[in-house]
């Protein structure tokens, strides 16, 4: 019996192939976009975890010199005092135009890294002598194997899959010469076992600072907000996709009411039928889910390289551009597909199961009613309020997203009521019978179209909101770059001595030389970079302060005052008037807060003498040079030639800006891609809704036709109706989108990145989006309109013949 019932149910899809395609597409789109985002996130997170395992990051305390590198003799001093520490030299080299991270560890005393273990457990382990003595060996990540192939002048290469991408691991002795940093150590890993009674760090090596793993910069934490952003967009796409599923399932079920009733008359019990329908839905969800996974895999594959580039550029997080298929991801995607499909179908299924056996036959419209709109509207208002209350109570990024979700879904739920009130008002004010009919007809069509319009509203609002956010950010960022990057040239010297030589040589040739000297200090909010500046009007004229005490710059130079970046200000809640405490016991009054976009860490600026008093003998290798812009290019080349500096060590302002903007733009490639896809899904939702309404159209259109309108006129009115409805929705989406943008700029960004951005308005973008929406609506309505145009008059006549 079950088989016979299933065959009957499935025969429906053979008859209504478009419905099947729509349903599967809806499930596939929802699952696909969501899964794509999840795949990207999972890949990135896996990369962080792998890198941090592979490099034993975050497992050990570390010792650093805030003034720069640690000398070999200090390492030996510590060792001979009993401190069990392992030396590490970090750096990067450019090979074949690619930046490669190099980590040199003392292979004799460092804890076992997976790559080393893997290499030594291989079939042909290298001799210790080969690894430890010249020329040494480079363990490289697989992506680098072809890069090193055929290159002379490097030690032999051993490929290890247990390394992050673009990474070279080698003995510290080899790294020294590879990085040309003989005798330098970047950091010391404090090994877990220490002997009894070792003297304190301050006694053996004053000036060195020990940090626990917790206060080291953790990539996963740093990038959490970025991934949460992506997830939120994934969820939005999923929701929009589910609108399609909801609409299609509702329609399919209303089409099948007659079939269901007949089956029941023929002796099939309702619970049995519901079980089989559930099975059918799950099967369809699985098919759509698998399609979605394939789709998601390709979308993720296409987007991942950009995401990887962003994460590397913005956070220095090592992310592989290669996507791998993870069973957990596929399983989660399928569960989302099934869960989403069932959630979108539960209403339809419930109505079906409540359907009386003997009600009159015929297709009943899948529609809400004025009362149910009011109920949805009240639900909507409740959700908006709930989201707001949640944020007010808990705060934080997650609560921010809950508020956003509440705002968006709430607004979507309010839409049918708002549209119906609007249409009713317009219909009352319309002149002429056709115009009146058009408004009234739109009003009557609203129940069938409201879901599609809700999807459209969400997609449009998201587009406007995110677009406004990104564009505002870009505008602010560009302005900020102009303020911040004022020097015409930026120079990085090989060492302190060369820096000295260069600045002496440059002094008579330039307007100003601005040394850039910084140290990394631990702070309760994480690592903090302290910069020293000289007294030069360049800073006071250009530095972008968002909060300041009077005479801020004068106080920096005269009163040991400090300026901090916005990230630090918001994280530690420090503002002008507060004090910044730095180790060991410096307290500096804060006189200003400056914006510092794109920087994940805390930063502070003091006068150069103050920096020297906090951490003496910080080498100066970087300089900003103020010169006449017209001579900058020549001077850059002269500098390179005279001091043998690599191209990358002398950078012109314009190149630096271009580089920064390129990183910025990459950051939002994914966001815009998801935006466009979401809008596409919404357009598809309109199309499916119009197509599903088609079956109910004839009885409504036939009387108008009979009253003397041609089919061409009716077809045109079909188009107009769709475009008008979409237009109304787009108009309503504008304030919602701007509200969304404001939340993103003033709430989400502050929580996620630590900076608040001014909001700019971009009416031209809105206009473009508005036209795009109308176009999408017209295209979606074109197919039904074309059908109407080609409809044989006999079919319209049938309406009257069959009227019951």
């Amino acid at each position: 019996m079950t088989r016979a019932i299933l065959l009957v149910l499935l025969s429906h899809w053979r008859m209504h192939r478009l419905q099947l395609v729509t349903l599967l597409t809806g499930i596939a789109l929802a699952t696909g976009l969501w899964s794509a985002v999840q795949a990207i996130n999972a890949e990135a997170r896996a990369s962080y975890a792998r890198a941090s395992d592979q490099l034993a990051l975050g497992q050990f305390d570390e010792i650093r010199d805030p003034a720069g590198s640690i000398s070999l003799s200090r390492y030996v001093d510590l060792r001979r005092a009993g401190w069990q520490v392992a030396a590490v030299l970090d750096g990067s080299i450019r090979i074949e135009g690619q930046t490669v991270r190099v980590m040199g560890i003392d292979m004799v005393s460092a804890p076992a890294l997976p790559a080393v273990t893997q290499t030594e457990q291989s079939a042909t382990p290298p001799e210790p002598a080969d690894i430890l003595t010249a020329p040494g060996r480079l363990l490289v990540s697989p992506d680098l194997a072809p890069v090193f192939e055929g290159l002379d002048g490097y030690p032999p290469v051993i490929v290890s899959t247990a390394l992050p991408p673009s990474f070279v691991l080698t003995d510290i002795g080899v790294a020294e010469s590879l990085l040309d940093r003989s005798g330098q150590i970047s950091r010391l890993i404090v090994l877990p076992e220490q002997p009894l009674d070792i003297p304190s760090l301050g006694d053996v090596a004053p000036g060195l600072i020990r940090t626990s793993p917790a206060s080291q910069l953790d990539t996963a934490q740093l990038t959490d907000s970025f991934h949460l952003n992506l997830s939120a967009f994934g969820l939005l796409s999923f929701a929009v996709g589910l609108f399609i599923v909801h609409g299609t399932v509702g329609l399919a079920f209303s089409h099948r009411r007659g079939m269901i009733r007949t089956l029941r008359a023929l002796g099939v019990a309702m619970p049995h039928l519901v079980r089989i329908i559930l099975f059918e839905l799950v099967t369809l969800a699985l098919v759509g889910g698998v399609l979605g996974l394939v789709l998601g895999f390709f979308i993720a594959g296409a987007l991942l390289p950009d995401v990887a580039a962003t994460l590397r550029g913005l956070y220095g997080a090592p992310v592989d551009g290669q996507l791998s298929l993870r069973p957990a991801w596929a399983l989660a995607g399928l569960l989302m597909a099934i869960g989403g499909t069932l959630a979108a179908s539960v209403h339809a299924l419930w109505r079906l199961s409540e359907m009386p056996l003997l009600a009159g036959p015929g297709v009943q419209a899948w529609r809400g009613s004025a009362t149910s709109w009011r109920i949805t509207a009240v639900t909507g208002v409740t959700m908006i309020a709930g989201g707001g209350i949640c944020f007010a109570m808990f705060g934080g990024l997650l609560a921010g997203f809950v508020m956003l979700a509440g705002l968006l879904t709430g607004a979507a739920l309010l839409l049918p009521l708002v549209l119906s009130l609007l249409l009713a008002a317009l219909s009352r004010r319309a002149n002429g019978p056709v115009a009146q009919w058009v408004w009234a007809d739109m009003w009557s069509q609203l129940p069938g179209l409201s879901l599609a319009m809700m999807a459209l509203l969400l997609a449009l609002a998201a587009n406007i909101g995110v677009g406004t956010m990104v564009s505002s950010f870009r505008l602010t960022f560009t302005g900020w770059l102009d303020q911040r990057l004022v020097s015409e040239l930026y120079i990085t010297a090989g060492d302190d001595a060369q820096g000295q030589l260069i600045s002496e040589w440059l002094a008579p040739k330039t307007d100003a030389i601005l040394p850039i000297r910084s140290v990394e200090l631990p702070h309760e909010t994480g690592p903090l970079f302290l910069y020293g500046v000289v007294d030069d009007p360049t800073y006071s004229e250009h530095w972008p302060l968002i909060a300041r005490s009077p005479e801020a710059w004068a106080r920096v130079h005269n009163d040991r005052a400090v300026l901090i970046n916005e990230q630090l200000a918001r994280r530690a809640n420090l503002w002008p008037g507060d004090v910044l405490t730095l180790p060991p016991d410096h307290t500096l009054p804060i006189v200003g807060v400056y914006s510092d976009y794109g920087n994940p860490t805390g930063q502070a600026i003091v006068a150069m003498p103050v920096l020297d008093s906090i951490v003496p003998k910080v080498p100066t290798r970087r300089f900003g040079i103020r010169v006449d812009p017209s001579v900058a290019t020549d001077l850059a080349q002269t500098l390179r030639d005279r001091f043998g500096l690599p191209t990358s060590a002398v950078v012109q302002q314009s190149a630096m800006k271009a580089q920064s903007l390129a990183i910025f733009d990459k950051t939002f490639v994914v966001t815009s891609a998801l935006n466009v896809l979401t809008l596409g899904v919404a357009g598809f939702a309109i199309l499916t809704s119009l197509l599903t309404l088609w079956t109910q159209r004839l009885p409504q259109v036939a009387p108008i036709w009979a009253l003397g309108q041609t089919r061409a006129q009716l077809a045109r009115l079909e188009l107009v109706r769709s475009v008008l409805l979409a237009g109304l929705t787009a108009v309503l989406a504008l304030p919602l989108g701007l509200l969304l943008a404001w939340v993103l700029l003033a709430v989400i960004n502050v929580q996620a990145f630590g900076w608040r951005l001014p909001m700019h308005l971009f009416p031209a973008d809105w206009l473009r989006l508005f036209l795009l929406t109308m176009l999408a609506a017209a295209v979606a309505a074109a197919l039904p309109a074309l059908r109407l145009l080609r409809l044989p008059p006999a079919d319209l006549l049938k309406v009257f013949a069959n009227e019951r």
């Binding site: 065959l7 429906h12 008859m15 029941r264 008359a265 023929l266 002796g267 309702m270 056996l357 036959p361």
Partner: protein, 215 residues
């Protein structure tokens, strides 16, 4: 007795009585026409007899089993296994072919006999149409499929509600002839609801429903 209605009472939700102490019985192989005005409750009586609808008082007994103790699932099983229905609206499954529609009830009841169904198709003049879908058939053809679907499970009782109500005269005659012929051939009992005295005259017995009572 195959089917007995014993003092059956039923009211609409508003309280208006539809069936008021109706008693009726039908023996195996008998045919009975139930006539009455529009709204006289004859369709309701058929629904009650077919276990499609409940009743407020009295008892309906089918093949010796009383219906009142049965729940939804029990009544569904009864409909599936003990009787067949023909409706005025045909109620074919639009997405199934004629052949699939013909076999549907028999398959649901697990009594599908391909030879018998082929024979039915032949008797009903549907052999050429088995691969078509209902929407491509005339009303008469659709009702013939519905009759075939009902007879395919070899029911002891056939309940038909205005089977010719949506058909023109010629088609009506054909459909009625075929239905009565098949009922006679299989020895099934028939309860037929109609407003036409001409049709009623062709059956073994007649009952007239008026004001909720058999007169």
């Amino acid at each position: 007795m195959l089917l007995t209605l014993d003092h059956v009472r039923k009211s609409y939700p508003g309280g208006r009585p539809v069936l008021n102490d109706v008693s009726l019985s039908l023996d195996a192989g008998q045919t009975l026409a139930l006539t009455g005005e529009s709204g006289s409750g004859k369709s309701t009586l058929l629904h009650v007899a077919a276990a499609l609808d409940g009743f407020d008082g009295g008892e309906v007994t089918l093949k010796g089993s009383p219906l009142s103790p049965l729940d939804d699932a029990g009544r569904a099983e009864l409909r599936r296994n003990s009787l067949s229905l023909v409706f005025q609206q045909f109620n074919l499954i639009p997405s199934l072919t004629v052949a699939q529609n013909l076999a549907l009830h028999a398959r649901l009841a697990d009594r599908y006999d391909p030879d018998w169904v082929a024979h039915l198709a032949d008797r009903l003049g549907l052999t050429e149409l088995v691969d078509r879908y209902p929407e491509h058939l005339s009303g008469g053809q659709q009702q013939r499929v519905a009759i075939g679907r009902a007879m395919a499970s070899k029911p002891a009782l056939l309940l038909a509600d205005e089977p010719t109500g949506n058909l023109d005269e010629t088609a009506s005659a054909v459909v009625l002839d075929l239905m009565l012929g098949l009922v006679a051939e299989t020895g099934a009992a028939l309860l037929l609801v109609t407003h036409s005295m001409d049709i009623a005259a062709r059956l073994d017995r007649r009952a007239h429903l008026s004001g909720g009572k058999i007169t």
